[in-house]
Structure formats: structure tokens, C-alpha cells
Amino acid sequence: MNETASLPTAETATETAPEPLLSARGLRRTYRLPRRRLLRPAPVRQALRGVDLEVREGGSLGIVGESGAGKSTLIRLLLGLDRADAGQVLYRGREVAGGGRPRDLAWFRREVQFVPQDPLGSLDPRMRVRDIVAEPLECLADASTAADGKAGRDRRIDEVLHAVGLDAADVRRRYPHEFSGGQRQRIAIARALAPRPRLLIADEPVSALDVSVRVQVLDLLRDLTARLGLALVLVSHDLGVVQLLCEEVLVLKDGRVEEQGPAEAVLRAPRSGYTRELLASVPSLAADPVSAPRYGPTR
């Protein structure tokens, strides 16, 4: 009797909290700084001091923080580009061991792709758009896609270029410098979409763009993740962007999670004092004169 009674509860539990797609537990990362004094040990900087997070299938998590909060380090760890000093990153329950041989992570990269911040810097200036978008396809080819061969690859390239709103026939043979900022970011998104990932990790994807272009790229990201059912991890200093795209929010400060929860709850009724200060600092479009009180010399 006891057994049967407990079963439904277990089922409902798995329904409400399905196995997370990507999760991190107790991530720590410390960097050694150059030695300053001869006889003292080299100073260290603790970039991450124990970070936990979870992203569900199709979910979206916004990571918010100011410079020095540890956002870049966290991204590198989540992408398996660096090894954590402690803690682990799990994808579908399997450990993502960063810092090892790239081929060992091919299974992970087929499912998790990256949209970097600087749309010009992240595209090799000596590569044509076609080759840039083909890169993950070439590197991550497995038994199922290898059969498609070059023709299949070309078809996929055209497909993703079209998906991000570029005219494939026109742009394939061009170089990155021939495009505007927004177009470059579309190319970067196309590259990320090429291997049919399940999760996109985007690092400040619009901060380098003009306001009007920003809206277009954000719309594109939102449409794509919705249409393809992609999960999204978005790192940004911009609360507006996070509010627009993310269901969950994680506020990072000095390498620690300051606050975490559903976006609406965190942004409307923040529990942490720091989050409140962050929210209050965002300039608002309400056309009233500065009502900001004077702030002490904190920085």
C-alpha cells in the first residue's frame, strides 16, 4: 500500500521538476595574479565562489551581473572551455569536463552552442561566411550527419542563413568586414544553429549593437528559441534584455549567486539588497528630472 501510494507523488515530482538540461553545482574558479612582492605568495582572484544553476529543456535563464561579477568565467565553464577548480557542470546528467581534449566534448557541443558578444571579433576576418557557418558542422560531424556529405552541409548552411534572415546566395562568399554589426551577429547566430543544438549560450549578444538593431536581433533570438524549442542561457548586464528573453534570472555578484528565481518575481520584488540597487540604477524612460539621491564615493 505504501508503495503504491508513493508512486504518484514521485511521478508528479518528476513532472514538476524534470531532469535539468544543463546544471552546475558548486562551481569555483580562482586565478593566480602576478606576484607583487618578492617574499610573499602570489595574490589570487576568486572569480567564482560556488555557483549553482539549472536550465530546463526549452527553458531560458538570464545571468545578470556587473563587471567583475564572474560572468565571463561562468560562461567559459558552462561551455566546457575551462576547468573548474571545484564543482561540476552536467549536461543531461553527464559531466562536461572542460579543459581536456576538444574531441571528448563533441557530444556536448553538438547540443550546446555559443553566441559571443562581439560580432566582429568573433568572426575570423580571413574566412568567408560559408566557412564560418560550416565550422561546427565540419568539427562536429558524426555518423548521422557525415552521410549527408558536402551537399548536405551546403544545404544546412543555406538553411540557417535563411533562418537568421540573410540572403544565403548573396552572403555565402562574403567576408565578415563587409557586414554591419547586426548582420554579423546574425551570422554568429547562424553558426550556432548549424549543428541543430538544444541549448544556446549567449554572451551579451546585443550590447555592441545600436538600439534599433538590438530589437531585431533580440526578436530573432526569441523567435528562434521559441520555434525550435531551444533552451537559452543569456548573460547580460542589461536587465531590459533579460526581462525580454528570460523566464528565470540569476543575479551574480563577486562570484556568488546573489539571487535566483523566476524573472518576474526577481525583477518585480527582489529579495536581495544588491538586486534592488541594480534595479534602481537602470535609467528609466519616464521623463522626469533626476531624482537620484547623491551617492557616496563607493567606486
Binding site: R126, G165, V211, P283
Partner: protein, 605 residues
């Protein structure tokens, strides 16, 4: 490949380099099958023949040897040493750089150390030592130059590999699943190739010069071989009688070296897709888009706001800009901008990249980048500034008109202490002594809320945080209590919490000193907190202008409306709008992609 060749031919000095090197190669090749005379046969009856006599185009020397024939044959030696040395240098350089970049830490550290030691052995010295042991030859010369240059190549290449491996595109490639070797092959090698080309062309030049010196000193290839350096050596004793004879081999060496250098530089440019093709020379300075001036309506059309509308009411204006037009060459970047500002007034200048907002603000104190010209009129206190000599403008800058810039780190001199920088305008305009200036700097540092001011005036810019640096920027700008402060995106590079503090500080100090403010930004939300009036710029013109509340509440221009909509869509609102509530961008919105209209597309489905 053909693209590279075409780019090379279009490059003027590259063409010259190509011709010079081709002549060298041709001379060496021809000398195998034909020379006017046998270069080694001495003919004492035909000594000292002057140029263009008896079929000796360049004359003969003391032994009656034909100079042109010697030069042709000498080209072989030069080319052989250059090619051999370059091959050795490339092998040594790439191997060592590769080891330093890819091998385990202890190996790479010792390779770097070895490079630093070997680099101290000059090529000529090594070549002489080798010649002392083995006797001089083509091989001693080439291997000495090859090894000595190889370590230079290794050092430069290692730094380049490290630079490229730190770029975002390599990071993106790794995240795309690219392995170490594939990244080296596909990204690192192509991107270090230009530096490598220049380095190897330098090795060729060094080899040519060293070979000449070695042969001159008597440590080149032994006697039957002919070389330009040996010709110089042979003719030095007769320089008094026949000075012309030392001219030919010298010119040959010089032209060869020049050819290698020019060709290397040109090849570097030709292999860069950013410089190749139609783009050569047409890149806009300062990232100003090319289309800024395209398809602009003529003056007086609805888009241009009449001066009267812009002029501040009442009291004589502090600043009057009339019909300001900024050009680079024939291209118009700012087109007929007019605005005016009364004392103590605050204007927000809004626009996206390429709108001309920054150029307009830089033009006021005469700080336009080199190559840009301004016309129209800029008056401060009724005095015309345009066309004034630099010295007079300098007298106004920092005194009547001051500026705060976007990047607080690069805007400060990294080698000057903070206090000295804060006091710079005071020393320039008020003639304070060093001591007075120090006191004043301390006072200002305190006033802008820098922590521990006594200590911080002695610090260097890199030791400060971004927010502190911008406080320093504000202290500098307001040191002489200017009548007008122009702030060009002063908070764009800062975090939100710091931005709020800096905005509050700017607001407070300008109010306190009664300073008029032009606040240049792309961010409508920021400008809303500091300005009384705003002017919206697009493609070099002011398209809308008016009191802040009015423009924000009921914008007249479609562009302003779309800008506002975009800003509202992405700006944070404490009670979040549901994503579907984002207003669509009207079709008349500026093309988001002003660079290449042909590529512009709407956001997808």
C-alpha cells in the same frame, strides 16, 4: 590567389617590389645561359674600360672583367643565400614558435629562454665564426643568417600565435568543437601569415646585406664564385681612380633589399581580405558609415529643423552652431546642423552609430579627427570658432568649453599621475604653480567623490576602477569652471550602478557651477535623466528637436518614434511588459543595417 596577385599589382610600391625581385630572379636565371662576357676571364688589354664602350655596358675593372656579367652572375649568389637563409629561418622559426606555443609548459619556457639567448648572437658574427672553423661558403653564410633570423622569427611568431589564440574567433571556434590542430591550421596560420610574410621578407633583406658584408670582409664563398660584396672589396683600393666601379654592385644590393622589403609589405596587405577588393582606401574613418550622406534630402526639406526652432528662448545664447557641415573628402558626414544653447541649459544629443552626433560635439571645441573639415559657423559668446588657429582654440578648450569622453581609461595619459592630470587645465589656463596646482587637484578629487583623495592623486590611471576614472575625467573637465561641458557618451562604458552615480555627479556639479551641458548618447533612457531639451540626429542631420518631455511623449518624426519604440522594447521596466506587448518597429524605421542596403532584411518569421 589571383585576387592576391591583382591586389599586389594595384599596390604601387608592391608593384615596384615585384618588379625589383623579378629582375633579380631573371638576372640569376639568365646568367646560367648567357652573359655578355665570361665574368671570370681576365683581359688585361681591356682594363678600366668606361661604360658603354667596346660592348661593356657597365665598363670593366682593373682585371678587365665585364661588370655587367659580374653583376648578373653575382645575383645567383645573393639569391641562393637569401632563399637558403629564409628556408632555414622559416623552419627554425616555425618549429620554435610552435614548440613555445603548444608544447608543455616547461618545454615552452625553455624554448623561449633559448630564443632570448640565441638572439644575442648577431648573424654576421656567427657567420664569421663559422667561416673561421669551416672556411667561408654559401652554406656558412646562409645557415648563420638563417639561424640568427630564425630566432627573431620565432619570437615574433610566438607572440602572434598567442595574440590570435586570444581572439574571440578562436574562442568561438573552440566552442564550435574545433580541435587544437584544426584551429591552428584554419585560424591561427592564416592570421599569422601576414606577419610571417613580412618577417621572411626581412630575412631575405638581411641575408642580402649580410652576404655582401661577409664577401667584402673576405668570408663569403671562395674565389671562383662571384658576389656583389666581393666586387666592392676588389674595387675599394682603386676607388680613387675609378669611383664609378663601386657604384654598380652597391646599387644592385640596395635595389634587391628594397625589392624584398616592398614586396613583403605589399604581400601582407594583399593577403588581407579587409584591404583587398573594392574596399581599399574607402574605409570610413572612425567607423563612420559610408551611407551617412547618401540619399539625404536637400536643405529646407521637412526633415531639417529650422534654426529658429532650435534656438533657446530669451537671453543671448552661449553656443550657436549654424549650418555645421563636416566632410571627409567629398563625403558629407554631418549635414547642415544648427543648434544653440543658453548658459546653464542642458541639451541631449541623441543618435545611433554613424548619426554624426559625436562629430558634431567634437567640432565645437575644434577636436575633429585629422582629415575631416568643418564648414558653417560655431560661435561661443558670439565669437566665431571655425577657422581659428589651433593656438586660439586651445585657449578656449578646458577654459570655456570642456569635454568628458566615453572611455575613461584610454582618455587618461597612462604615464601621468592622477593629480597632475586633474591640474593640467589649471596649470595651462590659470598659470598655477605646481604647488597650488597640487592643492587644487586634491580639492577637486575630493569634490568629485574620489575615495582617499590624498592617496589617489598620487596614483596612476590603471590603478583606478572605471567609475573612479570617469570621476577623474569630470574633475579635469570642470577644473576651470567652464561655461559649457560636452559629455560624449560618458557612461556608456560603465556598469549600471556606477552609471547612476556618475550621472548624479554630473548633474549636481553642472547645476552647482551653472555649466551648460551637451550630453551625447545613444541611450534615450540616460538622456531622459539629464537633459532639458533633446535633439535627435540621424545620418548627419538633426531630425527632431524640442523639450524633453514633449519629444518623449509625442514625437513628430517617424524615426524618433521608432527609436523610442526600440528603446522601450529593450529597456527595463519594473513591472514587466509581456513580450507580445512590444510595439512593432514601423516600416519606416531606419534600416538597421545602414552599411549594405542590399543585404538588409527584416527580422525573420
Amino acid at each position: 590567389m589571383s585576387g592576391i596577385l591583382r591586389a599586389l599589382l594595384r599596390h604601387r610600391s608592391g608593384l615596384l617590389g615585384l618588379v625589383l625581385v623579378s629582375v633579380l630572379v631573371a638576372a640569376a636565371a639568365v646568367s646560367w645561359v648567357w652573359t655578355p662576357y665570361d665574368p671570370t676571364t681576365t683581359d688585361l688589354k681591356a682594363r678600366w674600360v668606361l661604360p658603354f664602350r667596346d660592348g661593356h655596358v657597365l665598363g670593366t675593372d682593373m682585371l678587365g672583367r665585364d661588370q655587367l656579367s659580374l653583376l648578373l652572375v653575382g645575383a645567383r649568389e645573393t639569391l641562393a643565400v637569401a632563399l637558403l637563409a629564409t628556408a632555414i629561418a622559416a623552419a627554425v622559426g616555425l618549429l620554435m614558435a610552435g614548440a613555445a606555443a603548444l608544447a608543455p609548459r616547461w618545454i615552452s619556457a625553455s624554448v623561449v629562454q633559448l630564443v632570448d639567448v640565441v638572439i644575442a648572437f648577431p648573424a654576421l658574427l656567427t657567420a664569421m665564426v663559422l667561416a673561421a672553423v669551416f672556411g667561408g661558403s654559401l652554406w656558412t653564410a646562409a645557415s648563420a643568417v638563417g639561424i640568427a633570423s630564425g630566432v627573431h622569427v620565432a619570437r615574433v611568431t610566438r607572440l602572434e600565435i598567442e595574440r590570435v589564440r586570444g581572439t574571440d574567433y578562436v574562442l568561438a571556434a573552440t566552442a564550435s568543437g574545433s580541435g587544437t590542430w584544426r584551429t591552428m591550421r584554419r585560424h591561427v596560420l592564416p592570421n599569422i601569415a601576414p606577419t610571417l610574410i613580412v618577417q621572411l621578407s626581412l630575412v631575405m633583406a638581411v641575408a642580402t646585406l649580410t652576404e655582401a658584408s661577409l664577401s667584402y670582409l673576405g668570408y663569403g664563398s671562395p674565389s671562383p664564385a662571384v658576389s656583389w660584396g666581393r666586387m666592392l672589396h676588389d674595387q675599394q683600393p682603386y676607388i680613387e681612380a675609378r669611383p664609378l666601379l663601386v657604384v654598380w654592385p652597391g646599387i644592385a644590393v640596395a635595389l634587391t633589399v628594397l625589392g624584398f622589403n616592398l614586396l613583403g609589405d605589399a604581400l601582407r596587405d594583399a593577403t588581407d581580405p579587409r584591404l583587398r577588393g573594392s574596399g581599399v582606401g574607402s574605409a570610413a574613418p572612425g567607423g563612420v558609415p559610408e551611407s551617412a550622406a547618401e540619399g539625404l534630402p536637400k536643405h529646407g526639406s521637412a526633415a531639417a529643423v529650422p534654426v529658429a526652432a532650435v534656438a533657446a528662448p530669451a537671453s543671448a545664447p552661449l553656443l550657436t552652431v549654424t549650418d555645421l557641415t563636416i566632410r571627409v573628402g567629398a563625403r558629407i558626414l554631418v549635414d547642415g546642423v544648427s543648434l544653440s544653447l543658453a548658459a546653464g541649459e542642458r541639451l541631449g544629443l541623441i543618435g545611433e552609430s554613424g548619426s554624426g552626433k559625436s562629430l558634431t560635439s567634437l567640432a565645437v571645441p575644434g577636436l575633429l579627427p585629422e582629415g575631416l573639415t568643418a564648414s558653417g559657423s560655431i560661435r561661443i559668446d558670439g565669437v566665431e570658432l571655425l577657422g581659428r588657429p589651433e593656438r586660439q582654440l586651445a585657449g578656449i578648450r578646458g577654459e570655456r568649453v570642456a569635454m568628458v569622453f566615453q572611455e575613461p581609461l584610454t582618455a587618461l595619459d597612462p604615464l601621468w599621475r592622477i593629480g597632475r592630470q586633474i591640474a593640467e587645465p589649471l596649470r595651462l589656463h590659470r598659470g598655477l604653480t605646481r604647488r597650488q596646482a597640487d592643492e587644487e587637484a586634491l580639492r577637486l578629487a575630493r569634490r568629485v567623490g574620489l575615495p582617499d583623495p590624498e592617496h589617489i592623486v598620487r596614483a596612476w590611471p590603471h590603478q583606478l576602477s572605471g567609475g573612479q576614472r570617469q570621476r577623474v575625467g569630470i574633475a579635469i573637465a570642470l577644473a576651470c569652471r567652464p561655461a559649457l561641458l560636452i559629455a560624449d557618451e560618458p557612461t556608456t562604458a560603465l556598469d549600471a550602478t556606477v552609471q547612476r552615480e556618475i550621472l548624479a555627479l554630473l548633474d549636481e556639479l553642472t547645476r552647482e557651477q551653472g555649466t551648460a551641458l551637451i550630453f551625447v548618447t545613444h541611450d534615450l533612457a540616460v538622456v531622459a535623466s539629464v537633459a532639458d531639451r533633446i535633439a535627435v540626429m540621424r545620418r548627419g542631420r538633426i531630425v527632431e528637436h524640442g523639450p524633453l518631455g514633449e519629444v518623449l511623449a509625442s514625437p513628430r518624426e517617424a524615426y524618433t518614434r521608432s527609436l523610442l519604440a526600440a528603446a522601450r522594447a529593450t529597456s527595463f521596466t519594473p513591472s514587466p511588459a509581456s513580450p507580445s506587448a512590444v510595439p512593432p518597429i514601423p516600416p519606416s524605421a531606419p534600416s538597421a543595417e545602414p552599411f549594405e542596403p542590399s543585404l538588409a532584411t527584416e527580422a525573420t518569421t
